[in-house]
């Protein structure tokens, strides 16, 4: 039967990438002064697994490359080699190289042979220095035991075997009969039993073997094939093989076995393909900046089986409740009303629990996002010549899978900024009375239905004056604009803003921050920044825990129903005409505490004829906020609050300004979910 191995490839790639991540973080965690044995072991095992898998699935180049890494790591874990920084660096580089190889194979694109050759050379060089075993062992060296008895490999007649299992042989699960069966497949088998070793009946241990045999295998049989049959038990038995002489073959009489049983040599291993020579250096195509290993096939998800078990249990409960309700409904009369109510409330509870469970399945720990940072900080720090320590807190905080995917790049940008513009050079820090090591803290925690991720550094902080000046220069704000500290810091989110004296290739041209904010907002979140000159900066990202479900406030405008995201509602108020300011060209605004906010008349911008309230005093003002913009939505009425499942409007239709999606209400009708910034834009026209 031939099996298509390709079906296992995807899993192999996934687990290999995970293994590489584990190797990387393990290597970064290694403390040269005090090497954790278990850590080295883990790194070794990861390499070993990748080598084994790649060999099994036919990725020979990968297997060969990994073999060298594995050899290096093996020596380290055995204590035959000291763990040095240079070895770790070489291994880190190899991990990158391996990642690229696997990505290329997975993508079916070209592997960068030159890079592979270079890294392999570096590994081999490292192996040659230090450590008590310098040479790289080729994977399989056919072993020849010097005690091989002189036997011809291919006698025409066959072989005579004397076989005496040791008493305990069967206790390793080896059964002589099984071996005889194998011999039988090689040629004609004659077996003769020797009972000499059998003790008196009362002394027999049923689990022991006292028997021995003389066997003859006739035919054109190769010696290695015979040896194979006994290869597993060579330490557990005595056996000797002799070529079968002509007369023996014909009359089948057993020849006395040689008096001293001889052990046979180890079975020679099939020689495996020797390490391939690196392909001749092809003209390297513009070696583009190393792409970060994009995780392919991210449409699958690893789930803790306990979560699945919980789900199964809940579905079970749901089924029970449902059949109970069926029963009640079958011959319903008013006397069963209480049962019905009970059943319905159970149903509501189970459905809610089920919903929570399902949402929970898509939750991944944020460590998936955080995991790339130790390496990033390590490499960037070295590159910049700065000493930076990274502290990560709350890595187990769970977040929706989509959030994990979309948070990665923005977070990288923020951390890079901290490293580049935030943390000062060691001399500067010392001069300022700070420790030489800068610290960057990445922290994640849940707060009130949101997940909060903070990037904190103890660098030089933001200079309000410089920010303000720059913004005025770029025409982003008026000269006399009055800004709170918060608003001043938030200037860095404006497109086209950058105060870096020199543009480094680390954090780019400052075009990143506005993109970062937009990305965060696209996820339904917000980003805040706080700073103290000379002390440091804190950037905090607030994101909804899940993207597919929204807590919404239903509002009525005429016959239409809209959903306002609960998180965006500041408050709902009644206002009267006299609270409204009308400024020519700027529409209506109302005063809320310190600010003047625009009024958005829903029925006007959405052209709703059936609207009830035309005068402000007749309706309600829902004060909302989105993307830093606040406004008051003028609606007829507030209806209930509910959790709604967000459905895309764009899948079959189009993007509508002011609408972020749709949902299906309990009665099957469709309600549109409002997009606050869009509404503000609409009302400004």
């Amino acid at each position: 039967m031939s099996i298509d191995m390709a079906q296992f490839h995807q899993v192999f790639f996934e687990e290999s990438f995970e293994g590489l991540d584990a190797m990387e973080s393990g290597l970064l965690n290694l403390d040269m002064g005090d090497v954790d044995a278990e850590e080295i072991n883990t790194i070794f095992r990861a390499a070993h697994s990748i080598k084994g898998g790649s060999g099994t699935f036919g990725f020979t180049a990968v297997s060969d490359f990994t073999h060298v890494m594995e050899t290096l790591l093996d020596e380290m874990r055995d204590g035959r080699r000291q763990v040095t920084q240079s070895a770790v660096d070489v291994l880190l580089g190899s991990v990158d190289c391996l990642r690229e190889m696997l990505t290329a194979i997975q993508d079916e694109s070209e592997v960068d042979e030159q890079s592979v050759a270079e890294h392999k050379k570096a590994l081999e060089t490292e192996l040659a220095n230090g450590g008590s075993q310098s040479a790289v062992q080729a994977e399989a060296v056919p072993e020849q035991d010097d005690n091989t008895t002189e036997v011809q490999s291919l006698p025409a007649q066959g072989w005579s075997i004397a076989f005496s299992p040791h008493q305990q042989m069967m206790q390793s699960g080896n059964d002589p009969v099984r071996m005889f069966r194998e011999l039988k497949e090689l040629g004609d088998l004659k077996v003769s039993l020797d009972l000499q070793g059998l003790p008196d009946f009362q002394n027999i241990e049923p689990e022991d073997c006292y028997l021995s045999w003389k066997l003859q295998v006739q035919g054109d049989v190769a010696l290695p094939d015979i040896e194979d049959v006994f290869s597993w038990v060579e330490d557990e038995c005595d056996f000797a093989i002799q070529p079968l002489m002509q007369e023996e073959a014909s009359d089948g009489s057993s020849e006395n076995p040689p008096s001293a049983p001889e052990k046979q040599s180890a079975v020679s291993e099939p020689a495996q393909s020797s390490t391939k020579k690196p392909a001749p250096a092809k003209k390297p195509e513009a070696k583009a900046e190393k792409k970060p290993a994009a995780k392919k096939g991210s449409s699958s998800i690893r789930v803790d089986t306990s979560k699945i078990d919980t789900l199964i249990n809940m579905v079970g409960e749901l089924v029970i409740t449902q059949s109970m309700l069926s029963l009640v409904g079958e011959h319903f009369d008013i006397s069963k009303l209480d049962q019905l109510k009970n059943g319905l409330s159970q149903l509501e509870r189970h459905t809610r629990e089920l919903q929570e469970s399902v949402m929970n399945i898509r939750m991944l720990p944020i460590s998936f996002v955080f995991s790339r940072f130790p390496r990033l900080v390590h490499d960037t720090g070295s590159k910049l010549g700065k000493k930076i320590e990274l502290v990560m807190i709350g890595e187990q905080t769970e977040v929706d899978k989509t959030v994990v995917e979309m948070l990665s790049d923005p977070l990288v940008h923020l951390v890079r900024n901290s490293l580049d513009h935030g943390i000062e050079m060691p001399e500067e820090r010392l001069a300022a009375g700070k420790p030489e090591h800068g610290t960057v803290i990445l922290e994640a925690y849940h707060r009130g239905g949101n997940i909060v991720i903070e990037v904190r550094d103890d660098g030089k902080g933001l200079n309000k004056d410089i920010l303000r000046t720059k913004a005025i220069e770029k025409g982003l704000i008026e000269e006399d604009a009055i800004l709170t500290d918060q608003q001043t810091y938030e200037l860095i989110f404006m497109p086209g803003f950058s105060t870096a004296e020199k543009l480094t290739d680390i954090s780019g041209r400052g075009v990143g921050m506005d993109v970062v904010r937009r990305n965060i907002q696209a996820l339904g979140g917000r980003i805040e920044i706080d700073s103290e000159l000379g002390k440091g900066t804190i950037i905090s990202i607030h994101l909804p825990l899940t993207l597919a479900i929204l807590d919404g406030q239903s509002v009525a405008v005429g016959d239409e129903r809209y959903i306002v995201p609960l998180g965006s509602i500041i408050e709902s108020i009644n206002i009267t005409e006299d609270q409204v300011n009308r400024v020519a060209g700027k529409g209506e605004t109302f005063r809320l505490r310190e600010e003047y906010l625009p009024i958005v008349r829903m029925h006007e911008i959405f052209n709703i004829q059936s609207a009830q309230a035309k005068r402000l005093s007749e309706g309600l003002l829902v004060v909302v906020e989105g993307q830093g913009e606040k406004c008051g939505l003028f609606v007829d009425d507030l209806l209930g609050q509910q959790q709604v499942v967000i459905k895309s409007l764009e899948a079959n239709y189009r993007k509508i300004e002011g609408i972020s999606g749709a949902t299906i209400l309990g009665d099957g009708s469709v309600a549109l979910i409002l997009d606050i910034p869009g509404l503000v834009r609409l009302s400004n026209h």
């Binding site: 959405f606 895309s648 993007k655």
Partner: protein, 167 residues
Amino acid sequence: MAEAAVTNEQESLDEETRLENAVQFLSFSLGDEEYGVDILSVQEIRSWEPVSRIPNVPAYEKGVVNLRGSIVPIVDLRQRFGLKYMDYTPLTVVVVLQAQSRTMGVVVDSVSDVVDVDKLTIQKAPDFGTKVSTEFINGLASVNDRMVMLLDVEKLLKLEGMDEDNE
């Protein structure tokens, strides 16, 4: 009897060719004109249900409905084609079409029939003279002495400004 045998053979050959060249269309009417859409693009036929209005879109985009969990837009074909608007009656029908993984419902006066049309007899659409903009018409077919205008469902489903947004 040999003659009969030959004719029978001929007939069954004709039948075969007919089947090979046949395309099936769902025909429906708008006013006194008949139109057809490839039966393979028809997902289902429903009667008119109230829709949820979408603000600030062309008048012929009536709104959206919930179709088994998906949000599907409903377009009034009469208005789309610039025909006179007519009130909806209990006979008003919504034909749910799909093309290129997009689904949309179109409101028509009534649905007539599923017709077989021989591909070879389909005529090119004229450049003028039809009420409906020719960009939507793939061809003309003659069915039972009536002219049926065969519509290009993909073009139909592409609403103004849709693809740029969906990029």
